[in-house]
Amino acid sequence: MFVAQNVSVLRDGRALVADVDLALHPGVFTVVIGPNGAGKSTLLKALSGETAPDRGQVFCHERPLSRLSAVELAADRAVLPQSTTLSFPFTALEVARMGAIAHGSLDPTRAARTALARVGLEGFEARPYRALSGGEQQRVQFARALAQVPLPVEHGRARALFLDEPTSSLDIGHQIGVLEIARDFARRGGAVLAILHDLNLAAEFADHLVVMHHGRIVSEGPPLETIDDRVIADVYGISGAVGRLPPASVPFVLPQSRHTQQSKAG
């Protein structure tokens, strides 16, 4: 439903994203991985309409983003940014409610309550956002995004969720909790794009894994075929770290195993 065609984003003459083609399909959980500065966030911004690409085009349901208004785009996708600071003392409920209002919900307060409960923040409604921990703030923002697209498919149209490092401030339990909600959103027909740093979570949750390096997509496909020793070595500079879990055949990355590799090589 979201399609990037030959997209480049330039800053000071340098391409942060270079000639990227990427399609987000309904029902597919797409995960982007890559080292710092690979252009992941910039690509997400171009796809979500926040940054206009310098070359190429992005389409949402076959219409170019440049022709869509902020309101039209907001009906089709919600975005979870990396971090959000507030200069005024809104409560958790009031922040989540902004997403519900953007969705045009008839009872935004109830919708916000539901969204907060979904991310495990029941009882946090009246807490001032700024007094919450980083992880709790991130989950409130996730609830706000969920309230903006409460149904993965509405009026026959698929909706999309863009998550920029949704797990960066979370403990392992909540990391999995948030990704399970995102995967459920995709299972029910929505499109999800998430940027993750944890390669094992990426491998476990992605239907479609995208590896970025120096602004380009260097490898993409199902995790099993996408993550291998060569890609990890090329992109992250650590060699011989990829293993395979026998029953599920989910690849896992064990950075510690590079030592065995090196000793073998030596």
Partner: protein, 362 residues
């Protein structure tokens, strides 16, 4: 009041302050009615509550002619003007704080009022000579229009200087506000050299602020500005809420950010220009009222903007009543009273947790 207290208690459990917002707005309506009444019956002459009741009771003829004139030609226009000016100050403060995402942004503190005052003084000093064609064209609206233009120019300038990538640093905001305000004040000072005696008195008046000399003509000249700004409130309230999360997040939620900012800047300049044109620079109402209201009903602009209008009008009417009576028969400039009330609140804001966070973080 107890209803508000119980709503506050409930909001602290549910996190939803909508009911509280409506209750406080209703309470402020009552307060405003009371403040208007106080304003109508206070002053150096003996015209008091009883005379007002007689007058409103339809027995105006039984009043002494002099008392009737005081009520009709002095008190009523002054109360109406105070109401409009106070509403304008409250809205422009609350809206500017939302626009700059900063609880310390107040048109009086960051130089917008000075810009409006400079343009207003220009209109007075040069209205008979260089600007005569404009004065002939706009008539009664010339002064408020000039003040609006001056306020608009300084708001744009301030936004261009203090905002980088959609973020406004408090230090940059206050410092560039001081610089812009100082430039405007200096330019106003230069005009003193070409001003005649009448204009000189007016310049003194602009710098302190006063509702003295209120007439129906003044009320009518700013009424359209204040009404337009009030009409704009429902269109910017949701956007300003979303803007608190940042430009990007507001865009993600479907807010046309650039249009919202343009409308808000125009509205701030219109409200601020209108108040300066008829009452001079009255500081701190725009910072005290929204700050106190945020403590009570939270920062949601749906309730904060109308409540700030009502609260600003009430505060200004009460401050003006005080200005008229405390040193009667002389009159204190109202700007002195609002500064005595407002400056400590501003300092509290700076020293408080939010202020420190705003100074360091943003």
């Amino acid at each position: 009041m107890s209803a508000v207290a119980s709503l506050m208690g409930r909001a602290s459990v549910t996190g939803d302050r909508s009911g509280l917002g409506i209750a406080v707005i209703l309470l402020l309506l009552v307060l405003l009615a009371g403040a208007a009444l106080v304003s109508l019956i206070s002053g150096p002459t003996g015209v008091g509550l009883q005379d007002l009741v007689t007058y409103l009771g339809g027995e105006a003829d039984s009043l002494a002619a002099q008392d009737r004139i005081i009520l009709e030609a002095v008190r009523l226009p002054r109360t109406a003007l105070g109401l409009l000016v106070g509403a304008g100050l409250g809205i422009s403060g609350a809206m500017m704080q939302g626009l700059f995402r900063n609880p310390l942004a107040d048109p009086g503190i960051v130089g917008v009022t000075s810009g409006a005052a400079f343009a207003a003084v220009c209109a007075i000093v040069l209205g008979g000579t260089v600007l005569a064609p404009l004065q002939a064209l706009f008539g009664n609206q010339f002064l408020p229009l000039m003040a609006f233009a001056g306020g608009l120019a300084n708001t744009f300038l301030l936004y261009a200087i203090a905002t980088r990538n959609g973020q406004t640093s408090t230090i940059a905001l206050i410092l560039s506000g001081i610089a812009i305000g100082a430039m405007s004040a200096a330019a106003t000072g230069l005009l003193i050299f070409v001003a005649d005696d009448r204009a000189l008195r007016d310049i003194t008046f602009w710098s302190l602020g006063s509702l003295g000399g209120a007439t129906y003509a003044k009320v009518l000249s700013i009424l359209p500005f204040i009404l337009l700004v009030i009409a704009a409130l429902p269109f910017v309230a949701r956007g300003l809420d979303a803007l608190v999360l940042g430009d990007a997040a507001a865009f993600h939620m479907g807010v046309p950010v650039q249009r919202l900012k343009r409308i808000s800047i125009l509205a701030v300049a219109a409200a601020c220009g209108a108040t300066v044109a008829v009452a001079g620079s009255i500081s701190f109402v725009g910072i005290v009222v929204p700050h106190l209201l945020r403590l009570a009903i939270g920062p949601s602009h749906r309730f904060l903007l109308p409540a700030s209008a009502l609260g600003g009008a009430s505060l200004l009417l009460l401050a003006d009543s005080l200005a008229r009576t405390v040193a009667a028969p002389a009159e204190l400039p109202i700007g002195i009273i609002t500064a005595i009330l407002g400056a400590p609140v501003f300092l509290m804001l700076l020293l408080g947790r939010n202020g420190r966070a705003a100074m360091e973080g943003l």
